[in-house]
Each structure stands twice: as structure tokens, then as C-alpha cells.
């Protein structure tokens, strides 16, 4: 049984070396409490995407342990992955499918029964204002619409924890605010959020707890308030500057 005090995500000593010898994760340990809105901040190339990929076996870590709501992400990958939703950094929609099919097939891959999948698809199409595009092939959509389909797809199997990998990179302001509002609402409803971003305002806006990652290592971690106090900073940006040592840009 999953108890309330089991963390949503527990990462211990995760190490990942790519085949070209680059050490992308150098012993990362991290705990995300159930129901938290957690931000993973770091400059480009810090290892954020590698960390997410390692949890869902898209990258193969050299060593380390990962537990998702107490389930081992590798030994019990079926149970673990069913609880995870991923909205990847890069758009990767199946070009042979329509918008509607993208959601229904994804739900099927996650074992969701047909009727439930259709209901959830309907809700999410409405939620992301995609109803009039439901029969369109994903390859014909604009960039912003593709993003919306990606978010909807990540949610259609009702994950308990959602990985949002730089969700608002290249997204227009309106969609950004709508997305912020929606993920906040999902989080209030109990869904754990792991957001990666190098956009500090986003972290300031959304996250209670923050980890700063740099060069494959966690450089600082704590609640927003604790970090500000610890580094004598007024906002997340100042914390970031003190820890990472330079600006994002």
C-alpha cells in the first residue's frame, strides 16, 4: 500500500555517463514529497533532461536508485511508469495519428481501458481547447497547438506525478499563463509536480521546493523561503545567481 509519507520521488546517488564519456549526472540525490510542486532549476546542459530520462529508462544510468511512490523505477518499472506522466522538452508527436488518436493511443500504451481513455481524452481536448482540431493530424498543427497536445497526452493516463521538462520554452505568453493556472489546479488536486526550467520567474511563480542543479550535481535544495533566507536573497533569481555563479543567459 502507498502511504502518505512515502515520497513521490526518491533519487539516490544517480550517475549517468553518456557513451562519449560525458558525465551528465554525477551522483544526484533528490526527494520530492507527495503532492509537492517541485522545481529543478539549472542552466542548459546541467542534466535536467537526463535526470528525467533516467527515471523512465530513456537514459540508462550507470548506478543509483530511483523510487516512485515506493516502487523501484527499474525493478518494478511497470508500476512505477504507470504513475508517471512526462511532457518532454522537445515535441515528439506521432505523425500518423490525429490529435484525438494521440491521446487515446497513449492511454492504451499505459493500459487504460477504452471507455475511460475516451472520457479522459474528451475532457482534456476541451481543457486544452483542441476540440475543433481533434481530427487533424498532429503534423498539421502549429507549434503552440502541438505543445497543448503534448500536455494533454502526458495527463491522459492520470499520472500521480507529472514531469514537465521546460514546458514553457518557446510558448507564447497566453498559453504560458493558462498552463501555469492549470498545473497549479492539478497540484491542488493532489498531483505531484516536477518542473524543470531555466526560466526563474516560472519557478518563483509555481514551486514551493526547489533544487538547483549544475554540472550534473545538486548545488542547493530547499523550500523557496529557506533558500532565500540561506542565501540572503530577495528572490529565486538571486539564489540562483549566488549558487550557479552566473546568469542563465
Amino acid at each position: 500500500m502507498i502511504r502518505e509519507d512515502v515520497p513521490a520521488l526518491k533519487v539516490e546517488g544517480l550517475k549517468k555517463t553518456y557513451s562519449n564519456g560525458l558525465v551528465a549526472l554525477d551522483g544526484v540525490s533528490l526527494e520530492v514529497g507527495a503532492g509537492q510542486f517541485f522545481g529543478l532549476l539549472g542552466p542548459n546542459g546541467a542534466g535536467k533532461t537526463t535526470l528525467i530520462n533516467s527515471i523512465v529508462s530513456l537514459a540508462r544510468p550507470d548506478s543509483g536508485n530511483v523510487k516512485v511512490f515506493g516502487k523501484d523505477a527499474f525493478a518494478e518499472y511497470k508500476e512505477a511508469r504507470r504513475m508517471i506522466g512526462v511532457s518532454p522538452q522537445e515535441i515528439n508527436l506521432d505523425k500518423f495519428l490525429t490529435v484525438e488518436e494521440s491521446l487515446i493511443y497513449h492511454a492504451g500504451y499505459y493500459g487504460v481501458e477504452k471507455k475511460k481513455a475516451k472520457e479522459r481524452t474528451e475532457e482534456l481536448l476541451e481543457r486544452f481547447a483542441l476540440l475543433d482540431k481533434r481530427k487533424a493530424r498532429t503534423s498539421t498543427l502549429s507549434g503552440g497547438m502541438k505543445r497543448r497536445v503534448m500536455f494533454a497526452r502526458a495527463l491522459v493516463h492520470d499520472p500521480k506525478i507529472l514531469f514537465l521538462d521546460e514546458p514553457t520554452a518557446g510558448v507564447d505568453v497566453e498559453l504560458r499563463y493558462r498552463l501555469w493556472e492549470y498545473v497549479r489546479e492539478l497540484n491542488r488536486g493532489g498531483m505531484t509536480m516536477l518542473l524543470t526550467t531555466h526560466y526563474l520567474e516560472e519557478a518563483e511563480e509555481l514551486c514551493e521546493e526547489i533544487a538547483l542543479i549544475n554540472g550534473g550535481k545538486i548545488a542547493a535544495q530547499g523550500t523557496k523561503a529557506d533558500l532565500k533566507e540561506e542565501y540572503g536573497a530577495r528572490n529565486v533569481e538571486e539564489v540562483y545567481l549566488r549558487v550557479v555563479g552566473h546568469d542563465v543567459a
Binding site: 553518456y18 557513451s19 530520462n53 523512465v56 529508462s57 530513456l58 537514459a59 540508462r60 518499472y77 511497470k78 508500476e79 511508469r81 504507470r82 508517471i84 512526462v86 518532454p88 522537445e90 515528439n92 508527436l93 506521432d94 505523425k95 500518423f96 495519428l97 488518436e101 493511443y105 497513449h106 492504451g108 500504451y109 499505459y110 493500459g111 487504460v112 481501458e113 497526452r153
Partner: protein
Amino acid sequence: MTLLESAFNRSFRTLLGREILRFVRVWTQTLIPPLLTSLLYVVVFGVALGGRIREVDGVPYLQYILPGVALMSLITGAYMNTSTSVFDAKRERYIDDILISPMSDAQIALAYTLGGTLRGLIVGVGVFVVGTPFAGAGVSHPVLLLLTATTVAFTFSALGVVVGVVSARIDHVTFMTNVVIQPLAFLGGVFYSADMLPPALKLATLFNPIFYMVDAARYATLRASDTNPYPTLAIVVALAALAFAGAWWAMNRGPNLRY
């Protein structure tokens, strides 16, 4: 839940369904061209040249080549399906959505492989059915023929998965088709009996796996063949197992799939 139920669970069936949807949706590229090409073979080699070759092993020439021609289409159909589907999915990274789902690597490999197997069978059976009125005659061992056809389609479909994964560029996929599969199929005794070849070529033919497959299909259809069909079938089954092991490996360890 039994082992079978969990292997063929909803996740697996959904991916298989997606593979079928894909080739049905682009049927003008996947189902029609191979039918046309094979009909051209039947016309050119059977009807036009058949008058000169009349009989091989006591069988009218068109009848003699039809099982092999159908098998060639089946092989290319099965192979093309998985190699292009997997290659596209990898190039545009939408395969990630499948790789991070709760499916096992074996399930993913099997769903892709069976999708290609089905396309190969549809095309192969289609060619056979369309060619039969021209060639005449029926099938002596239908069960053996279906078994052979399915195993052969499965083998090349699984091989297509491997090629789709390991190919870094689309030319690698087409290279395999044009430089390996097509020549082997052409030299696999589709249009002649190995007995008609000079000894050196005949020996070379014995190293061509497609030769055994064509031969088994021909035996099952016409009872005319170069070798005993049962050891042949055993070889074909072994090749299928080997190819599937390759597809499984590709999903698990293939380059640039799971980094």
C-alpha cells in the same frame, strides 16, 4: 493474470493496433505498389517469357514461380513495414512515448514485429490470390504454406525492427532493401530451380536463407521443390527466433534509442 494475458495486454494490443492503423492509413504506399510489382513479374516472366520456358520440374512455369513471387512481396512488405515505421518513430522521437510506457522491451519488439508480419501476409496472400487465375492450380498443403508464410514474414519483420533501430539515416534502410534483401530474394530461386544452375552458383544458393523459404513455399503449394521441406521449415523457424532476439535486443540496447 496468466503470462499470456500479461504479454498480450492492452498496452501491447494498442501498439499492434497503431502499427496496423499506420499501414492501412497509407495503403496506397504500403499495399498497392507491391501488388502491382508482383503482377508485373507474373506478366513479364510468366506470360511473356513463359512460352519459352514452358515447364520446370514438370510444373507450368507461371505456376512454378507464383509462390516465390508472392513470397518476395511478403518479405519486402514485412521488412519495409517495420524498418520504416521504427526508423520514423526514432528519427522524430515519438518512439520515446512508447519506450517510457509500462511496456516491456519484448512486448514492444513483438508488437512492431507482428504489425509487419500482418502487412507481409496481406501483401503475399494478395499477390497469390491475384496471380492464381493466371497460373491455375491450387495449394497442396495449405497449412504448411500458411505456417511458412507467417514464419518468413515474422523473420523479415523482426529484421526490419533491427534495421530501423540501428539505421542512422534513411539511406541505411533503403540500402538494406536494395543491396541485401532484393538481391537475395532475386537469387533465391524464385524464377528457376537450383538444379538449373552451374555447380558454383548452386552451392552459393545454398547459403541464401531466402532460397529455403521460397523452396518451402513452393513445396507447400506445388509439391515440387529442391529440398525436403521439413528440415527447411526448421531452419526458417530458427531464423525467426534469431531475428526476434535481434529485435528485442534493439529495443533494449539499440544505439540512440535508450541513451
